[in-house]
Symmetry: C2
Subunit: 341 residues, 2 copies
């Protein structure tokens, strides 16, 4: 069992008020690189800091890493369009950072990344894989892809006050710019991700199509974005069972009818509850207030913890420890460029 | 604790009779990619097959993977000049495949890879790291580097009948081509790896310099090549303790006075004995006959097994199982390019 994180970027995240996956746009571009490092090493390495929202809500990578330290699964990262370096080992599928989805061809590397990731999925040797994502702005591009496929529905948000109208405007502009009407990309997932999506959706969808085809049990770990990946896979002709694992924060979000959507796409839904309301720790309180909600496979990781009988109280303890070490704690001194040659 | 595999290539391996790290030159160029996949996934993924020597001696990656499945350590791979793709996640340091060491500038990416790997080493978050290598032809470039540093000494071989004279000729030509005399690169590790080495030595040496400087406990897992890495680190001014862990096959090789060299470079030497003579299984018999000897961190992995109290009989069982599955067994059918889009 391996959790595979698709990490990338889209300049769509730079649109005002779209994403809270980072303190500001300068920090946000580092978020996927930092999430990959937190997953692999338990701390940022090349990235400057643990991603936090403007209000101090930490990245869900802390929850996924916390479970990883308690549960028994391997991890891997796919470079699905990183814009900043990462010290995490990555599998390359030829994805480049995505442009603002309102451009006419925001993800030109989508077809190549889709094909390379599909081949990786076909060859993937593990029997079971959990697919996760990290890409600021990703719920907007997910809405773009769902709309292009003719599968419009509500989407969730990393913000407590979901800017859904703003997202719909952006998506309308995105389809206009590509000369697409809603539903024009039905049955054509490559076109949907290239014209209205992002490199993470392109890479993850390709991987899922390849992995499902060769009989690997696939769990999509996330909310709206993984719903878009599921839609892309179904539109690609994948008929095998797919599972969706997410958090209560997304499942209970009225803006995104996740349960209904999961039924429509024939997804076996698991909703994991980390019990954050039992803590007033800053690492958890902002989630209860409706921020972040999901990401970096948090829901899937929590589901894996449940499957292994790991109590959520232990997961919360571990999250608290990680937060206190990494966010409250003193940053380790960075190596300066002197000393031994 | 993490085992970090530096995987790369040098066209030096194409020189007749230099290396046995693959069935033939066409297969050999895949060996580091396959070794990385075996370490990470337990089987070749994108690589066509398990690397075996012309006489059927399997890659030491089987031994390292066997220990990984029994012991508790993480792994990572650095792309130190791979010439073929790998499905293993890799850290990039900007290394490109090395040319034949007899050219005047065989490793132009060496200085950049050395610097990027040193920075990665400085930032490396784990307290302890085991550094491993996979590069066909690597003992010849190791001799080149040792000679350029003025540290000539015997070197081991993946062949039972060590073509040491041939290696010395190649190294003499290599230094000539670069206008270097033995010892001209003393105190200048970057020049030694660029003119007489390979991208794995450049990347591993840079990493070790950075990691040692920031207090990470470094174990060099291997034979002659890791000795060259140690020499490079010492010539870079690293005075901190360094450990060397290798197999009895290298330590008992009269062609390479490893114990003496370890003393000269102030290395804390561990010699691990897998007890292969207790088996006549083809996965082990060729080692007893003097083939392969080391590689892919085999000695370091065996030392980790000993440290965790894992009996060598269990390691041998696991190696036998892996060999029977991967070398004797039926290859899994490769995904054909049809089916779902």
């Amino acid at each position: 069992m391996r959790l595979l994180l698709f990490a990338g970027t889209t300049r769509t995240a730079e649109i005002d008020g779209i994403s809270a996956a980072g303190a500001d746009p300068e920090a946000m571009v580092w978020t996927p690189s930092a999430d990959a490092e937190i997953l692999e090493y338990g701390e940022p390495v090349r990235a400057p800091e643990v991603p936090v929202s403007p209000t101090g809500c930490p990245t869900p990578a802390l929850a996924t890493r916390a479970v990883r330290e308690l549960a028994d699964f391997e991890t891997g990262v796919v470079d699905a369009g990183l814009a900043e370096p990462t010290a995490a080992p990555t599998v390359s599928v030829g994805a480049r950072p995505g442009e603002d989805v309102r451009e006419s061809d925001p993800v030109p590397t989508a077809p190549g990344a889709y094909a390379a990731a599909r081949q990786f999925g076909r060859q993937f040797p593990d029997d079971e894989v959990t697919v996760a994502e990290t890409i600021p702005g990703g719920t907007t591009t997910a809405l773009g892809v769902l709309t292009a496929l003719g599968e419009e529905r509500g989407v969730s948000s990393s913000l407590p006050d979901n800017p859904i109208e703003r997202k719909r405007e952006v998506v309308a502009e995105a389809l206009d710019a590509s000369g697409l009407e809603s539903g024009d990309a039905a049955g054509d997932p490559r076109s949907a991700v290239r014209r209205a999506g992002d490199p993470v959706l392109a890479s993850a969808a390709g991987f899922v199509v390849g992995a499902a085809r060769t009989g690997t049990a696939v769990t999509l770990a996330g909310g709206t974005q993984m719903l878009a990946v599921a839609a892309l896979a179904r539109h690609a002709g994948v008929e095998r069972p797919l599972a969706l694992a997410t958090t209560t924060f997304v499942a209970d979000d009225p803006a995104a009818d996740l349960r209904g959507a999961a039924a429509d796409f024939d997804l076996d839904l698991t909703v994991a509850d980390p019990g954050f309301e039992e803590s007033d720790h800053p690492a958890m309180a902002r989630y209860v207030a409706g921020e972040a909600k999901e990401g970096v496979g948090m829901g899937g990781a929590l589901a894996l913890a449940e499957r292994e009988g790991i109590e959520m109280a232990r997961v919360r303890d571990r999250i608290r420890t990680l937060y206190d070490e990494l966010v409250e704690g003193e940053p380790a001194p960075a190596g300066r460029d002197d000393g031994p040659r």
